[in-house]
């Protein structure tokens, strides 16, 4: 038995919003692979829960009329990886969420829960930052859509108003069209481990594959929340595709990131990994784009 004070179940977004307003102290429960574990550990014990796991209308992936990719917040990691739209346009996201936990965790874990947790190590988050994704929140007065970088406020805190739930992650066409992405997770073991530092890069090359037209790079566990490395990005955009520039680019990330010492890894190790991951990820993106170095 879980130490739960009360359980309220929502079967539609509307019901969830009403329950949020009715029970302001209740915790939202999606797949539960974080929340239920924290209840077991005592951290969130004795609380009221609003289960939104049974809201089927916010499950699934589609292309909207502007060819933006819409991922319902309750879509599981394994369904994202297996989805044809994801494989065709943003395979990097499917690969990133295929590194979460274990097969069973990827079946229960949802992209909405992963982002709403507000933790820096979420394997989906760095890739969503590097895709410049949008977050859709639905509340009493309707929908609001904000950039994922605004959604994260500080460690463990995201921008969800008292009447809202997250209903979708949206990747606009201009953010993925013509880009190739790659995510690298560095952890101590392959399965069931939390990222020591993770790096996700999206690259758009010129038609002749000789110039970086645009580069977006984001990290998990390089600061209190997932973050972009903007200095590194502005260094590389417009530069020629060659090994030297990629090396310089990877060193430049040290001006952006701010990892900490923790029991998992030291700051020095994380900085070292961050540079190496940036170098390897951008090179892989060039390769995926058909460029040569």
């Amino acid at each position: 038995m879980y130490d739960i004070k009360a359980l309220y179940e929502a079967y539609s977004v509307e019901e969830a919003i009403n329950l949020r307003l009715l029970h302001p102290d209740a915790q939202i429960l999606a797949g539960g692979s974080d929340v239920l574990v924290q209840i077991r550990e005592g951290k969130r014990a004795g609380k009221e829960l609003i289960s939104i796991y049974t809201i089927d209308e916010i499950r699934g992936i589609s292309l909207d009329e502007t060819e933006s990719i819409r991922i319902g917040s309750l879509t599981s990691f394994s369904h994202i990886t297996k989805n044809e739209i994801v494989q065709k346009y943003i395979n990097v996201l499917g690969e990133a969420v295929d590194m979460v936990g274990s097969p069973q965790i990827r079946n229960i874990g949802t992209i909405g829960g992963n982002t709403c947790n507000g933790v820096t190590s979420a394997d989906s988050a760095s890739t969503l930052f590097s895709l410049d994704a949008l977050v859709e929140l639905t509340g009493k007065s309707g929908k609001r859509v904000i950039p994922i970088s605004d959604f994260y406020i500080k460690a463990g805190t995201v921008d969800i108003k008292p009447d809202e739930i997250q209903t979708a992650i949206i990747i606009p066409k201009e953010k993925y069209s013509g880009y190739q992405g790659h995510y690298i997770k560095y952890a101590m073991r392959n399965a069931l481990d939390i990222t020591t530092t993770g790096c996700s890069v999206n690259v758009k090359l010129s038609e002749d594959k000789k110039t970086f037209l645009d580069v977006r790079i984001a990290y998990g566990v390089a600061g209190p929340i997932p973050m972009r490395a903007k200095n590194a990005e502005s260094f590389i955009v417009g530069k020629a595709v060659n090994d030297e520039n990629c090396k310089e680019f990877s060193k430049e990330v040290l001006n952006d990131i701010n990892p900490r010492d923790s029991w998992r890894a030291s700051k020095a190790l994380r900085q070292h990994i961050a540079v190496e991951l940036a170098y390897r990820a951008i090179k892989e993106c060039v390769k995926l784009s058909g460029g040569e170095m």
Binding site: L7, Q104, I108
Partner: protein, 163 residues
């Protein structure tokens, strides 16, 4: 005050229903209400895979799944693999033949992951199988015999080796 809910679902092919405490995990319900004792209580935080069951054809750690979410679902446990005359299924027999069972605590969970793999109807490399089985901790076997049991059953089902 205790809060209860009627939960109806299909358990190993049979439609069942019972009033369940909403605080129960699926492991609690399967073990206590339905005596499905193959569903083991291991870590109870979704790490070891001992409580793994199939829900609508996908593997889930039942320890971090609310019992009330079982409503309307098709749930399968190791008990459902045995044939009517009490014979073991091919994957269970393979675990015995390959000495993939020692203490046996992780075995039901691993076998249910193997069932999902086998029923997908496609082939996998050994590396892919390792990844698909990575949600289970086994402290006895060192995993090699488990991998071999799954490999051999898969090859047999795909007709790659003669029975």
């Amino acid at each position: 005050m205790a809060q209860y809910k009627l939960v109806k679902f299909t358990l190993n092919g049979k439609e069942v229903e019972k009033m369940v405490d909403v605080r129960a995990s699926l492991t609690d319900m399967l073990r206590n209400d339905y005596r499905m004792t193959s569903v083991k209580k291991g870590c109870e935080v979704g790490e070891c895979g001992a409580c793994n069951v199939l829900i609508d054809g996908e593997c889930f750690n039942s320890c971090i799944y609310l019992a009330v979410w079982a409503e309307g679902k098709n749930i399968r446990t190791l008990e459902g693999l045995m044939s009517e005359d009490g014979e073991l299924s091919d994957i269970q027999q393979a675990f015995i033949d390959e000495a993939a069972v020692q203490c046996g605590f992780c075995t039901p969970g691993v076998i249910m992951s193997a069932v999902e793999i086998l029923e997908s109807g496609r082939d996998y490399t050994d590396d892919e199988l390792r990844k698909l089985l990575s949600g289970h901790l086994c402290r006895c076997t060192g995993y090699e015999n488990i991998l071999r049991a799954v490999r051999k059953t898969l090859d047999r089902r795909l007709g790659k080796v003669n029975v």
